[in-house]
């Protein structure tokens, strides 16, 4: 026990020493403002203390020379299952889904496995923060915003819960089970959908009654974890992340959110371009799924998925990129890069990986740009992080430099040696 305590003290003191430094000589890309050539960046206790071409440097501070390199804020993946799923086909390594349709009480944060192999792999590509999401049922549980570094989930936690995950019911006539012949009858699918929507409404109604009962302080009041979890949603404190891919589902999700007076964030809204004006008008942010995808319809233009971010930008819709993956979360910057190649202004793409997600998730006081007072989540690169050839040289999370070695690198080294 004592050894453990000593050890913790050591770690704490080391960390304290580590997360204060001066980074100098690099081109700093604050994202929130113009780039600073040959800039200086002072980090104190994990927080950005000063940034500029000339800053007052305290005596004895550790100096990191970064001449010729570039500094960006750490990238944010706004939808992953990092830490929850390791190998999707091995049941024992997947902890994303609970039985049942309504599980708002589930907290993804406590299921995060800090030693997941995916975390260092993703981190090595410049992604320092990720939203990790439960799935399944109608209300899947509470998503968490995590740092991709830490020994325990407590250390990784940035904000949890960061959202309530809702899989909006859809009229599904496409059959996905193997061996299915042709589509399901629409009337049957619609009945099914209406039943699920009714269940969802009733669940919200139940939560509201619970809220009232709690406020009234009636003696029969009994605490219910599911209902407790819904309170911040009903109070508008916790946004609801709604998975709605197609136009009909998006429109219905918006109507539902309005009727329930809840904060809505849309996820994987691949037909958002059809309702872009409405999204702008209602000020609803969108978490975009991967850009490197096939079109949704057979006769859509081949670049429908590539141009979606540019279309939303033109309409003035706020969005952030997400991988909705674990093993491919590392490709997040390239998803944004594809959007740039198909019309999205470069600065917007970078913001949709940094500042915009921080704003959407309500953590822009800590994350998303290189500004005084924000956390020192930084990546040091030899070029543009959206380019595949760019190497990430160093990564800092809250001022702590993190290890960039990972499974991919280990395998690369092993197989490079193979005669």
């Amino acid at each position: 026990m004592r050894e453990l305590f000593v050890c913790l003290v050591c770690v704490a003191s080391l960390a304290a020493a580590d997360n204060t430094f001066l980074l100098r000589g690099a081109t700093i890309h604050p994202v929130s403002g113009p780039e600073i050539r040959d800039g200086m960046l002072l980090v104190k206790d994990g927080v950005i203390a000063e940034v500029g071409t000339k800053v007052a440097v305290p005596r004895g501070v550790r100096v990191i020379e970064a001449r010729g390199l570039h500094v960006y804020p750490g990238l944010i993946d706004s939808g992953t299952q990092l830490g929850l799923a390791e190998i999707s086909s091995v049941r024992e390594t997947v902890d994303t889904t609970e039985i049942g349709d309504f599980n708002p009480q589930l907290r993804a944060i406590i299921a995060v496995h800090p030693a997941s192999e995916h975390i260092p792999v993703t981190r090595a590509n410049g992604i320092t923060t990720a939203v990790t999401l439960p799935s399944g049922g109608i209300i899947s549980g509470q998503g968490a915003l995590i740092h991709l570094d830490g020994w325990t989930w407590e250390q990784m936690q940035v904000q949890a819960p960061v959202c309530m995950v809702l899989q909006f019911p859809v009229i599904q006539t496409r059959q996905e089970r193997p061996g299915a012949r042709g589509p399901r009858p629409f009337s049957e699918a619609k009945r099914d959908y209406e039943r699920r929507l009714q269940q969802l409404r009733e669940f919200f109604e139940q939560a509201r009654r619970y809220q009232k009962a709690k406020l009234a302080g009636s003696p029969e009041f009994r605490t219910d974890a599911r209902m407790e979890a819904m309170l911040p949603v009903l109070e508008g404190k916790l946004p609801v992340l709604v998975h709605a891919v197609r136009e009909r589902a998006i429109r219905e999700a918006i109507a539902f959110a309005e009727s329930q007076k809840i904060r809505l964030v849309l996820a994987e809204a691949r037909e958002a371009w059809k309702v872009a004006d409405l999204l702008k008008q209602k000020n609803i942010p969108v978490i975009l799924g991967p850009t490197l995808e096939l079109p949704l319809e057979e006769d859509d233009p081949y670049d429908k998925a590539y141009t979606l971010p540019a279309e939303l930008h033109r309409a003035g819709v706020k969005f952030a990129f997400a991988s909705f993956s674990t093993s491919f979360a590392r490709n997040l910057p390239y998803q944004a890069a594809m959007a740039v190649a198909f019309g999205l202004p470069y600065e917007e793409a970078l913001k949709a990986l940094t500042l915009y997600p921080a704003q959407i998730w309500g953590v822009s006081d800590k994350l998303g740009s290189i500004e005084k007072g924000k956390w020192a989540d930084l990546i040091v690169t030899d070029g543009d992080p959206l380019e595949t050839r760019t190497q990430i040289k160093r990564v800092f999370i809250q001022g702590r430099e993190v290890d960039l070695s990972n499974k991919h690198l280990r395998l690369y080294e092993i197989y490079s040696r193979r005669p």
Binding site: T173, R181, P183, R246, E298
Partner: protein, 457 residues
């Protein structure tokens, strides 16, 4: 000896005459006669005697004992043939060993009690071709006919007088029979049997072999290889029963060897190409059915000499489809072009016949045929595809398919040109028996005219 047999024939004929108690001699006088095999007779007479066409022509004597039908202004056609049908087949007929997923082609209610075929006990899931899964090639439609099938009368009222009917389930579903759509006893209805072996590409799901399309094709190939080996082994044994081991009797292969022709499913152009190659490889006397995209490969079909049975159930959007579902050009084109298949085949000179695919009512039938006519098919070709072509494909053109002396008296008398919306069938003759069609049922939408399932690959 010869004299005795002649006496016997006369006696049997007399008995048959007695059984068909109502008049067996009819004369349809003054009608327009569409003979199909020859030119149209604008004002002619057809004489029917004892179930056969006794005479036809512009001026033929009317027998004194004939029931004369004054048919001024009416038209006589050969009775229509449904070239691939389940008419008269009890739905439950082919539930056999196995694990074949029910693919209900028609949504008709199952007709009342049916002679159940011998059933094998519920077997374990098949592991390979040696278990002969989904193979009921030994089932014979001729043995399964249910004269009480209410659909028979519906079809007859629309002008069908014969159908080539098949057991419906499994990959090797069974042997078809050309049946007359009239008569009291099952035995009377059979015109020719076996008419061919009906094959489908039904997979058995994931629980039993074959569970995939490639497995089905490999299985069919193996069955034909086995059948050929079985044939040789039987021949050898017949010649040397004392020195060769006796080959085990295999009913599944017996059925395969017995079939005079094989019906293979092929609707899309790629499927037609595949099946033509498959048939050539296995040296099958093949007939393709489906044919909705045959307009693309008419030349290929012509070269192969393989006839096609074209389904009249044109691909359509399901009535119960998601109204917001975007449909691909490919699917829309497939639907739009399918009815142009018959015209394309006629132009290319490919032998083809129609099958109703469940659209037996007059209204549905006319609507479906009209789409082919509107897509360029001539009236004469449409009539031929329903009559003589079907008879030729099944090798019964000596008995059916046209109005000629000596052919079976399967005729329809209409008050106008066939396949016109206003035309009504006035009389139907099946084996020389006169039937009057049922009054058309009031239109019922959304009933059984659910469009064919559309499996796009």
């Amino acid at each position: 000896m010869r004299r005795i047999s002649r006496w016997a024939i006369m006696w049997i004929a007399a008995v048959l005459c007695v059984r068909a108690a109502p008049p067996s001699v009819f004369a349809i006088r003054g009608a327009r006669v569409v003979t199909v095999s020859g030119p149209v007779i604008e004002k002619g007479t057809v004489v029917i005697r004892d179930g056969l066409i006794a005479d036809v022509g512009a001026s033929v004597p009317i027998p004194a004992d004939a029931w004369v039908i004054e048919a001024e202004g009416l038209t006589v056609y050969p009775g229509l043939i449904d070239a691939l049908s389940s008419l008269g087949m009890p739905e439950a007929a082919a539930q056999t060993a196995g694990t074949v997923r029910a693919t209900s082609r028609s949504q008709q209610p199952a007709p009342a009690p049916a002679p159940t075929p011998p059933q094998t006990p519920e077997a374990k899931p098949a592991q390979g071709p040696e278990d002969r899964p989904s193979n009921t090639s030994w089932l014979r439609a001729a043995d399964l006919i249910t004269p009480g099938d209410s659909r028979l009368e519906t079809a007859r009222s629309a002008g069908f007088t014969a159908a080539v009917t098949f057991p419906q389930r499994g990959i090797f579903a069974g042997q078809g029979a050309v049946i007359a759509l009239g008569g009291e006893r099952a035995g009377e209805m059979v015109i020719a049997a076996p008419a061919g072996l009906y094959l489908t590409l039904t997979t058995a799901g994931f629980t039993s072999f074959p569970g995939s399309l490639m497995g089905v094709l490999a299985y069919i190939r193996q069955v034909y290889l086995d059948a050929e080996h079985y044939r040789l082994a039987k021949e050898l044994y017949a010649r040397h029963p004392a020195s060769v081991p006796r080959p085990a009797y295999d009913r599944a292969l017996e059925g395969v060897l017995e079939a005079p022709r094989v019906l293979l499913p092929a609707s899309r152009a790629v499927e037609i190409d595949r099946m033509l190659r498959f048939a050539a490889e296995l040296k099958l006397n093949a007939v393709l059915y489906g044919g909705h995209e045959a307009h693309r490969v008419a030349a290929l079909l012509k070269k192969s000499g393989v006839p096609v049975l074209v389904s009249l159930r044109w691909p359509e959007r399901s009535r119960d489809a998601d109204p917001e579902q975007v449909e691909s050009l490919r699917v829309l084109e497939f639907r739009e072009m399918a009815p142009s298949t018959p015209a394309a085949l006629a132009k290319e000179g490919v032998r083809f016949a129609f099958y109703a695919d469940g659209l037996w009512s007059q209204r549905e039938l006319v609507r479906a045929v009209r789409r082919a006519l509107e897509a360029g098919l001539s009236q004469a070709d449409a009539v031929r595809a329903f009559t003589l072509s079907a008879a030729e494909i099944y090798g019964v053109a000596d008995r059916l398919g046209s109005i000629e002396k000596g052919k079976i008296a399967n005729l329809i008398v209409t008050d106008g040109e066939l396949f016109q919306e206003k035309t009504r069938v006035k009389y139907v003759f099946v084996d020389g028996r006169k039937y009057e069609p049922l009054p058309e049922a009031p239109p019922e939408e959304g009933g059984r005219a659910e469009p064919s399932e559309e499996v796009v690959q």
